[in-house]
Subunit: 341 residues, 2 copies
DNA sequence: GAAAAAAATTATCGCGCGTAAAAAATTTAT
DNA sequence: ATAAATTTTTTACGCGCGATAATTTTTTTC
């Protein structure tokens, strides 16, 4: 407790008996001052609850410690989880992350990137909307601001990308499904926002052909991010029209599968891999809720930890090291066997 | 298109043939300059893509246009949805919202509030962790920064609160359940983070007693935010121990209900209100995923729109009008009848 | 103990803008 | 047309800190 309030760094330094530049140096890098000095400052910090004015700090600095994290749709717990993971890693690395969601809206994505520019961030971790993104705008942003793309790549944009190995995901689960019973049909939305969906469909077709099975792709109408609803409505229609060639359905992603499970339930189809079951259903992603569907969903788990860790590491290299190759890093998924297939 | 790059407001003003203070006035309130002047500036704005440096702007200003939005757990789509709603309303009101999640961690909540201070926000919309929150810290924050609490109130903290009328929620669904079949047992976690849970249990007990039924509360161990898991594990144990007095279970919230549904499925109990069903299950909140459970969950819908609208309105009044009474506003829920009960 | 190295100080600038007061230009009223 | 009221512009200063260079002080090394 001190008698007078500290208004700025000058007063704070004076209260300790140090010069302002020394204290300034400390805030930029505590290791850059002598140990005894550092301890004096840290002690005073607790006594006076002073903090540097962040606006004054960043105004005259070439690079701030701000990091932007942009995800396409935060109401999807998958993105919430990975954002949380990334956020924490940024904090641990001494940066100040700010989270944004495009809410599935390309215009909003553009506005977020625009707003981010004026924050002069050290770097940005961007999971773009995908197909719907304004490619030119994103590309320009990536050349202006050190950016690492994650989850969804953007062809032609020269920024490092960290994501999942979609073909491996699909191969893994197709192999499992073919091995254990009838080969799967593939259930997807016709116009997915995310480019990963396309890769998964292609991988499905190849995986089936390699094994000598004929691929059956069931595309249902729908775009946007209301995957459960699309899976539900489309699932009902597809079931009623008997569009599935076998008793096994592989969904393009878990949220679609959750909607499809609801459709199966509604039609009285028992889902599972045991004797009395009418249909097997599998997903891809290992969504946080997939453990609690009825029945629990068999799926392929995204490697959240690796993706977020590597994305942040790549950004740090890019920020601190200057140039970096715009390379792609993909992580493999793990088969999660549950009751649905 | 201009030949030289605009570096600051001085150059920008010069390019139009105006003085910097006039342009500065425009940015603070476009209506405060003559119409013809405003049009000249807006035209130049498009030609030169200049934007004021936000750090220089905020440094010497008593009040910024920043608004903080803090939710306890962003991986819960309920909070993601309401945050999105609030965020958009703040933008529409001309403010610059930033979203934070406490991730269920009291320490992190404290750090977020601390970091928020140095942003000198015009106001903050805070959904506190609840029971786990550092009450003293939150209270002090509320006296320093104009704050509106939402979702979860904090007894003793003198800030306006906007939330849901929990007793009304519970009464509504208890009335429905009692009217249509056997009166419900109440399924909850023993040590909920959120104070709403307690109010719901109390309301359940009263609602039962009023109708001449004996209340049965089934509390299962668990704390934190992994509600589905707690509902699942606790549900299995409670079912096996035959702790439910009737064939109807009212869950404290939808996420708990989702976990409980999974437990029912695992034990082969058919959930629903039709003939062959073994048990009825209902929730509270109308979680975004509740439409797609198996069977779809009967619940009470939160009035997202009203809560977010009124919370933002209250904050704006508080920010622009100065003082405001620390009053409480509650919104009623709507019964959502689906197949589960 | 002196020389070398490291750390802290002094001094001074600049960042880009907010803001207040005074001066000038414009609009409105008489 | 002239005076009064309003709007706009000019002038001047300050915000809190980063950054740098030139000294001075302290610490380390031999």
């Amino acid at each position: 407790m001190s008698t007078k309030t500290i208004r700025n760094m000058e007063e704070f330094a004076a209260a300790i008996g140090l010069s302002r530049p020394t204290v300034s140096k400390f805030f930029n890098d505590p290791e850059s001052v002598k140990t005894s000095t550092r301890e004096r400052i840290e002690a005073a910090l607790k006594a006076h609850d002073y903090r540097p004015n962040i606006y004054a700090m960043n105004q005259n600095r070439k690079l701030t410690k701000n990091v932007g994290i942009v995800v396409p749709y935060l109401a999807d717990p998958f993105f919430a989880e990975i954002a949380r993971n990334i956020e924490q890693r940024c904090i641990d690395a001494g940066y100040r992350p700010t989270l944004y969601s495009s809410h599935g809206d390309p215009a909003l994505e553009g506005e977020i990137l625009d707003g981010l520019r004026s924050l002069k961030p050290a770097g940005v971790l961007l999971a773009p909307l995908g197909r719907a993104s304004d490619r030119a705008a994103v590309e320009k942003f990536c050349t202006d601001v050190p950016t690492v793309l994650f989850d969804s790549s953007l062809p032609g944009v020269g920024a490092p990308f960290v994501g999942s190995d979609n073909p491996q995901f699909t191969n893994l689960i197709v192999e499992y499904l073919c091995r254990t019973a009838e080969p799967p049909s593939f259930f997807e939305m016709a116009t997915p926002a995310n480019p990963n969906a396309k890769k998964r469909r292609q991988a499905y077709v190849e995986a089936m052909e390699v094994r000598g099975f004929e691929p059956h792709v069931v595309s249902v109408p729908g775009s946007g991010w209301a995957f459960e609803e699309i899976g539900h409505e489309g699932g009902l229609a597809a079931l009623d029209a008997r569009r599935f060639a076998t008793d096994t359905v592989l969904c393009s992603n878990d949220r679609l599968a959750i909607g499809f499970l609801a459709a199966c339930y509604e039609r009285g189809l028992r889902v599972g891999r045991d004797e009395g079951a009418a249909i097997r259903v599998a997903g891809q992603d290992d969504h946080p809720f997939s453990r609690f569907t009825c029945p629990p969903l068999t799926t392929v788990a995204q490697d959240y930890a690796s993706v977020s860790r590597h994305a942040v590491q790549t950004l740090m290299d890019l920020v601190e090291g200057g140039e970096a190759p715009a390379e792609t890093t993909l992580f493999e998924g793990k088969l999660i066997m549950r009751a649905s297939a």
